[in-house]
């Protein structure tokens, strides 16, 4: 039990460490957001435009880092594979294609 409490404490510390980084990043994230193109509104004025990078962060990044070394001519095939694996919508697939093979 003692050992397990130690392990539990470690996990909590790791989690806290990650959360603590939020504070460190608050200023830099703010600066980055300022530099990004503002999210444009569609004609109905309600739906925000989603970018391919956001789709990547929301779906692909759940399991792995951004693959920066994929040849462009293979990107369409890889994203078909990942659309199947990650159960992505057709809309998300198109946004990912624009993001990874613009």
């Amino acid at each position: 039990m003692k050992r397990y409490l130690t392990a539990l404490a470690f996990m909590v510390i790791l989690l806290m460490g990650g959360m603590g980084a939020v504070a460190l990043q608050k200023n830099s994230s703010q600066a980055q957001n300022d530099q990004k193109p503002s999210t444009s509104n569609k004609s109905n004025g309600q739906t925000q435009e989603v970018t391919g990078e956001e789709v990547f962060q929301a779906n692909c990044a759940r399991c792995h880092m951004p693959p920066m070394s994929i040849p462009q001519r293979a990107t369409g095939t890889i994203i078909m594979h990942m659309r199947m694996r990650a159960r992505l919508s057709r809309q998300d697939e198109q946004l990912l294609l624009k993001y990874m093979a613009p």
């Binding site: 397990y4 470690f10 980084a21 199947m84």
Partner: protein, 340 residues
Amino acid sequence: MGLCFSGSLLTAQDANDAENHAGHVPVISGGMGYIHNVNGGVTTLSPQINPVLLVPFGSHVLLESRTDFIGFFQRENQTTGPFTGKVFKSVDYAQLDWLANSHVMVTAGKYVLPFGLYNERLVPIWIRNLQDSPLTAAIGTRTSGAGDGLMLRGVVIQKPKYSVQYSAYFSALSTINQLEAARTAGGDASIYLTHPRLEIGTSYQRFLQDREVNNVSTYVSWQPAKTPLDLKAEYDYTHTGNGYWLETAYRFERLPIPTFLQRIQAVGRMQQFFALNGGGNSLPRINTQKFDFGLNYYFRDDLRLVSSYGRSFSSQADANVWNVGVTYRFTLPLWPERKK
């Protein structure tokens, strides 16, 4: 069912393809690596390569297959003598996909069983943060981790604030070499909350041969936007036992430290398994607890050093588990780019 959703969407989809420069050529992708494992004093050397063949037919049909070639070498007398062993090969999946539309994608052939987080998403050597599988990995994946038959999957609904995904499948019993599968039926559903980047899901499977049993899994996956933290947790239940694992991984990329140290990822995992009805079916036969701590170093997004230390506790024996290795993800287009 899939036919209901297809049809007129195809023309619009092809038009969208012209808006990027992505190619659809056959590809061999996958992972390879070498893991040096010491478990309770017994050393195992495990080189492996897991190529994935992807052959697209247009932008809606995909043939895909993954084969594992895994070396398993141990000393003749476990702790003494020369290393001996062999290379095991297995076909993880070989399937034909029809990406009809967002709501329905149809898979036929041998496919990876969509049960919980681990089997479908985290098995590849270049993805998993810790090389040892969770204690409950065998729940819902008997007998080979794959099913032979038909699977439907897709997006039920997608809104700016959330989306709901599903999978449903039926697998027939097969004893054909490299196509082994059990007779099962089941499904998986998850909801993803966009703003907090939180996914909550559940899987159900009915094992339909020998002793018919229910297998259930619930899982959570969370990657907060403002910090490179990855938290995953899963609870699994079957009639021979139940258990959970909780894993956190944190990349140092945003810490105010030298650049070469920002490539480090720290990982921690704790898990408990409680045997029921004698355990078995690839699960521990006694209650077991384990924690792991790992450090991974990313040279690039596709190349990393991995290392971990774990200790397992049970009434039979406690044991230290060490892993050190290297993993690499590769992508090889097999065809020149088509002229558009």
